[in-house]
Assembly symmetry: C2
DNA sequence: CCAAAAGTGTTGGTTTTACACCCATGG
DNA sequence: CCATGGGTGTAAAACCAACACTTTTGG
């Protein structure tokens, strides 16, 4: 029994959709190293705390949100990634539905949303983490149901399409998109409508978890 | 700056194909905890060593093989997963081509291949790691080109089909399988043949990386 | 000539893509 | 009656699943 002793941090890539743009939450570092640079929210894992619990705790501490979609992304362990010494980063990615607000205590100067595809220079190796998170998000959007996590409980089909377009970075055909989504039978059409502008109100839908379970059974949803 | 101090280990799920069966390498633990139980090869990450380097080193130390397909799988950090104290496990999975032999020094009593879908009881939380590795392997087999890593440089289409069948756990149609693989245009047909039994010799193929690169460009191969 | 695995096409159903117009609403 | 986004169908191409016989070889 041997082995070097290491400190372990979690870093969380939090995505949301604002004004039809995929955005990521960054925090400006107030202390060295990389003081003044933008970085992902995160922090050290505590004694007797699981990795998932640490990620949830940091998320809650830094943004005030809980009960969000969260999954482990990758572990970065280059011995030189942190100039302070050996720090392992277990990265997570989280999806925040577009109607949710950060805790108002979160100082606007220190925490800001940036377009995920046009982020500033990042501290540490966080650029690599972001790239990896984007790959993962694009992939999961197409093959799983995580896309709904970026929307409120009730949403229109056009809003859902905007999520796909913002993440994938390309326009989709409205008719084909609707046919494909509806054929999955994972949405429940509501009687309610929503007026967005001056035009015809759009029907609202909600994600139907029971239908989703059937899909999992058919092996159509990938578990990671 | 704070944070609990943790020891970090890598654990490696090594798959290969023997006699048409997907197998996984296990090592019998000679010391507590879980003395006598089977576990994945692995060990502690050293000072100034990256996670990937640690995984490669352990692989080489415990099996004598190097230059294999290796990718990070997931990090397990339940604080109670190791009775000795806080040990993080960064799990990896590796694919060994079927013709490669372990170092003969590897004692047959202490290191053995087991059918991956019928493994014995495992130490620590290694059962969870194995399940996760199998999910990942099945998925990557269908969507990437990792399948070739389980075969020698030159192989017949039937051998390739056996890899798919062993990993996916179901029979595939020979004609459909061949059409699908050949349509990808990632194989180069060789002039050589290989006689396996008494019957008609089978044509040999090799994986063609240049064609593979074209596929990546078309977005048909997922990068993880 | 027998046994064994290699090799090879067709058809029907499903899925995907490309594409354009009418509808409901408020002002 | 205009502007705006909501909502809808069809046809061609590509893809997928099911299915059986002939070929080559050594003994």
């Amino acid at each position: 029994m041997s082995g070097g002793v290491v400190r372990v941090a979690v870093d969380i890539v939090i995505f949301t959709l604002r004004e039809g743009v995929l955005q990521v939450l960054l925090i400006r570092r107030g202390v060295p190293p990389f003081k003044g640079k933008w970085a992902f929210p995160g922090g050290f894992v505590e004694e007797a705390e699981s990795l998932d619990a640490a990620a949830l705790r940091e998320l809650e501490e830094e943004t005030g949100v809980s009960d969000v979609y969260l999954e482990q992304l990758y572990s970065f362990g280059d011995p030189k990634r942190d100039p302070r010494g050996r720090v392992l980063s277990i990265s997570y990615f989280a999806l925040l539905s577009s109607e949710r607000e950060l805790r108002s205590g979160t100082d606007a100067v220190d925490a800001r949303w940036f377009p995920a595809y046009d982020a500033p220079r990042l501290a540490f190796d966080h650029r690599k983490i972001l790239d990896y998170a984007l790959v993962r998000l694009r992939y999961k959007l197409e093959w799983t149901t995580v896309g709904f996590e970026l929307l409120p409980k009730k949403f229109t089909l056009t809003e859902l399409q905007r999520v796909f377009e913002a993440v994938l970075g390309r326009k989709l055909d409205k008719r084909n998109f609707r046919r494909k989504i509806l054929k999955l039978e994972i949405l429940r059409a509501l009687d309610e409508r929503q007026r967005v502008g001056v035009q015809r109100p759009a029907r609202l839908y909600k994600f139907s978890a029971t239908e989703f379970e059937k899909l999992r059974g058919r092996g159509m949803i990938f578990p990671f």
